[in-house]
């Protein structure tokens, strides 16, 4: 699928960090919010962004947390448990 232009991604990141109104609007009304902020994306870019927004907005925080735990959960082997406790193992998963 078509990638979104780098400049557009950078602009969206800056707005998502700096602008409270944008943060609220982008989840509830993606296209209206982008229009108000003067964003002009190609049809393919818009489709990619729309999919991502639906992926994110379609889940509650509880669902995302549960999914993350299920994805990372695993039974440690004896060798793994000898190196780290299960809690330390999972905590380090994203430090490496």
């Amino acid at each position: 699928m078509e990638e979104i232009r780098l400049e557009a991604l950078k602009g969206l990141t800056i707005l998502a960090i700096h602008d409270g109104q944008f943060r609220r609007g982008v989840m509830d009304d993606l296209e209206g919010t982008l229009r108000r902020y003067g964003y002009e994306l190609t049809d393919q870019e818009m489709e990619r962004l729309r999919r991502a927004q639906m992926d994110i907005a379609g889940w509650s925080d509880e669902d995302l947390a549960r999914s993350l735990r299920e994805r990372e959960a695993r039974v440690l082997t004896e060798e793994e448990e000898r190196i780290l406790s299960p809690e330390q193992f999972l905590r380090r998963r994203w430090r490496f």
Partner: protein, 334 residues
Amino acid sequence: MRTDKRRMHERVGRVFTFLDELIVALPVPSNHRELLQAHLEADTELAEVQSGMSAVQLPLLVHEAITGDEGPALPVAGACTLLHLGADLFDSVLDQELPPSWHTRGSSEASLAATTLLAALPQLSIAHLREQGTPPAKLWSLARLFADTLLTMSAGQYEDLLFPNLENVSLERSRAMIERKSGSASALLARSGAVLATDDSFTIEAYAAFGLCFGIAKQLINDVWDIWGEDTSRDLLNGKRTLPLVHALSTLQGEQHQRLQELLVAARESTEHNDEVRALLAAAGSLRYTALIVWLYQQQAHNHLAGASPQEPAGRELRMLLDGASLLPQAKEA
């Protein structure tokens, strides 16, 4: 896919064998050498289990993506891995969660080992590049790159330590701290492989930007995992102001805002209110917000990587590593 996993596993073996030989040859008393070897052995086992370890994979893959050969970058991957092991060991000392292999030695010896791993050994690893004819100017560039990055990481880490004492931390300040603390380290992993491989500044900067965005995305996932992945949040106990918490404090109003502030103070003493903290973060949509920011950085990293036109199969492996840096459920879960 299985071939890619096997290649990742083999890289871990090559880099840790190189490091073992480096430490064996150090001109230090045997007990000091044993201190460093003990840590390397424990982390060798950990790295073999977690073969995706970026400090091993990124420098080698980036070099191969540019030149078609990862071999010459082995000393650079060794230096990156040493820096990473030292920083990780320091984190464990600060968070008071040293791995079992350190329990008999204690935090003083761990701090000494971490200092040696961070400061001295990466330079000695890079010095091995002389044996393969790397020009002095490039050796100096790499040595300077490691020093600059360590300085940036230190500044980010210091800010992370200061945040618990500040009344207000903005989302931008939190993002900038993550960029310095974690993004710069990940940028180093990619940039150092590129610096050794080419003099083309566009290519070097594209890989560095890829590494930076990848590192920020991974740190944000780590922050989310700390709060939602475990019963006991180390970040809440340590009073950290990670991005999801800063988002909730910026979003919630009135009584909810006040309550979250009270709970964050209480969470430094006890874990009994952690579920209520999570409920308020959910009310603010802070996990979904963080998932959006992770996605934006992941997409930026994809874009930078595509701009660098990596050779295959290294490009595919880099994309595979990057695809894992997401908070969104995989397609089959949806």
